[in-house]
Symmetry: C2
Subunit: 471 residues, 2 copies
Amino acid sequence: MSIRRLVLPFLLAAIFSAQAAAAPRNVVLFVTDDQGRDAGCYGNPVVRTPNLDRLAAEGTRFDYAFCTTASCSASRSVLLTGLQNHANGQYGHQHAYHHFRSFDRIKSLPMLLSAAGYRTARIGKLHVDPPEVYRFDRELSGNARNAVQMAEQCREVIAAYDPRPFFLYFCPADPHRSGQVAAELPGKPDRFGNRPKGYPGVKEVSYDPKDVIVPPFLPDSPECRAELAQYYQAVTRIDQGLGRLVEILKESGQYNNTLVIYLSDNGIPFPGAKTTLYEPGMRLPCVVRSPEQRRRTVVSSAMINWTDIAPTILDYAGALGKGSEKPAFHGRSFLGVLDESDPKGWDEVYASHTFHEITMYYPMRVVRGRQYKLIWNIAHGLPYPFASDLWASATWQSGLKRGEKLYGQRTVDAYIHRPAFELYDLKADPHEIRNLADDPGHATVLEDLKAKLRAFQKRTGDPWIVKWEYE
Amino acid sequence: MSIRRLVLPFLLAAIFSAQAAAAPRNVVLFVTDDQGRDAGCYGNPVVRTPNLDRLAAEGTRFDYAFCTTASCSASRSVLLTGLQNHANGQYGHQHAYHHFRSFDRIKSLPMLLSAAGYRTARIGKLHVDPPEVYRFDRELSGNARNAVQMAEQCREVIAAYDPRPFFLYFCPADPHRSGQVAAELPGKPDRFGNRPKGYPGVKEVSYDPKDVIVPPFLPDSPECRAELAQYYQAVTRIDQGLGRLVEILKESGQYNNTLVIYLSDNGIPFPGAKTTLYEPGMRLPCVVRSPEQRRRTVVSSAMINWTDIAPTILDYAGALGKGSEKPAFHGRSFLGVLDESDPKGWDEVYASHTFHEITMYYPMRVVRGRQYKLIWNIAHGLPYPFASDLWASATWQSGLKRGEKLYGQRTVDAYIHRPAFELYDLKADPHEIRNLADDPGHATVLEDLKAKLRAFQKRTGDPWIVKWEYE
């Protein structure tokens, strides 16, 4: 046996114990699929989310958290790059013939964390391409409809005897529609992944359609209530997965070494939310628990958006702005304001959505402040395109069959045919019904926000900036 | 020295001479960039193309040859796959932020030829992705604006002592616009790659703007004439490259072993042609010379399209429908009708264009027969999008500045704002000015062609088929 073989174990042990002295700064990014602000801690008294509520009680609940594009692939690319999707190339869906993918040159969050000494693992939905850009050290398997099982699958990563911190990207497929219709139920709702036989380890909670809370943008119809009940059930299933994951973190002694961020990719899978940049499409849950927070049960009014997530995580990892390549993120770290309820300088967000499916070209650019929100519908000459699953939904089809002119508080016609500019006063009109873009009293506001949008596009390298001139 | 080392050279020589007995079936696919039917053999008495005219005299000149999408990347993907671009994934430009690319599963022409024992080489423009799908054995370098130099660069492939047949994909960048303005000339035309100092080996031929032939879809303005003169010069430069390439084939003793196909990717780079599926955008030069033709100087009325090119080449190579994987092409081989002026059963083409630049979403689907042509403008609610180089062109900008209402025979308004359906009687109205889609006398024709379009979309797996229902 050589000297080398004798010495190596001792050396490794020395390194391990030196690193163990400084607690690892682990990160869990928990991303749900099409979940809105439907949780106890967000004021919904019906849907049961005790684990998310507990996380909020121990951390910071953001009340003004926004995705920047209301589509799964595109939004996840924003989370993992800190860039608007118009700048990272993931303009729309990654799968099948949609075939969008990020630029090869992009430095993604997992790769930046790898470079900073993290072990990276993911489980569940990825939905971005190419694999070379979004490379994780480990890809764990598990049924993405069963977040409890997923959590168990992560145990080996969390509890591993490894001095390196871990980054766990945890992505259930709930509460996305599943495309299967519960024909035996009144209203024939989509099942939202709910199975009569349930899932191992999950205590399914079902909801009575008469109990659900129909938000103002949805029609209060039997079909919509039936679908919301299914959606709630899927939300509660995720919550149990979150609960199990926190248990495993605690059992492994890592809970107080781990930044946990819980959020959703985009709004709920109903027309009026997902794929739109109306508030139900982009205003989302975001609960953060940092082991280093001094205050707990913070409700933050800071307006944050999904381009802030990557820089925040890198900030926690001590890797923000380090390394030979410093990616210029479109967002910034909110780590420093987790203890504050009303931090200064967090009063505006921008959003940029272009595609969902490849056939759904409908570029929108948005600036949203505390009071005003401007939506620029670049392709306003087109009818608003429907995602195939939203078009087919019992919620939409039932209204169509009944010939209803209203969908929630908006007319069907206004939903489908949109003007170039929509300007809303969110204080007076939180449901975005009265467009002020043509109101002479708001001409200055409109021009100011248009100028802001254009500056945003220039700053972030938006190819669609040409549309100010060409169309 | 081993027996093996002694015997191997003899064995190789034996194999070489056995193969040499059967002449190699080489292929040259010569693809120009944005060239229209501007050549002597296509009836233009001004532009000098003696080498293409000679090829036509020795082979078959197709009078009804069509690309299926009038955009460089997309059209080249069709040539190299035999599939409509809506089915191969290359929905638009490959480069920069446009970032379209074919599906990984696609079997391209060079790879099918490689599998059939060909050595494959390319020179000049590729403009499709990913490299794994469009893999050539060799990528030759050369200035793509100098087709004469490019031809010389191919000599080593053509003259190689190698018993395998070769496939040479030869793609000049002429006569594409170059984005450089000749400010010293009247009309300030784009230079189309022409340089005052010329190119080594090229005898530049310049044209007087007063001599050029202004086609009916273009305005007869000084700026347009100045640009056409530049364009002609670039066309003549290519022609010298074709001449040199044929010389090298002859010098190498390969000319009579080589199928030569000369065509362009899409119509000329002027508004009204390139990016549109009007006739100037899609009806293109295509000259084919097969060593096995019995007749020469054939002018064929067969309606062929660019999905036919890959199957034709594979047919010549004896590799059509062979191998474990048999790609189902959208076109078919026209090798068997090269000797016929009016072959039966070649009376209809389909076209499918969706993007040029990523910001230029404008899906169109076309069926064109001998008499009628139907264009479905799927996104007809949008203003027709301009390619940045066409928008900036002296030809377009000069008319805009003069406030001209007409552009060629079409109104500017009709060019920009298009109806859902455009139905033209090409016999009575070859320049596609009088839309018959709303004419009650053509209601049956319209319905028949709509049904054909829809069947075409279904047959070829077109994602945009959903637009019959959703919009």
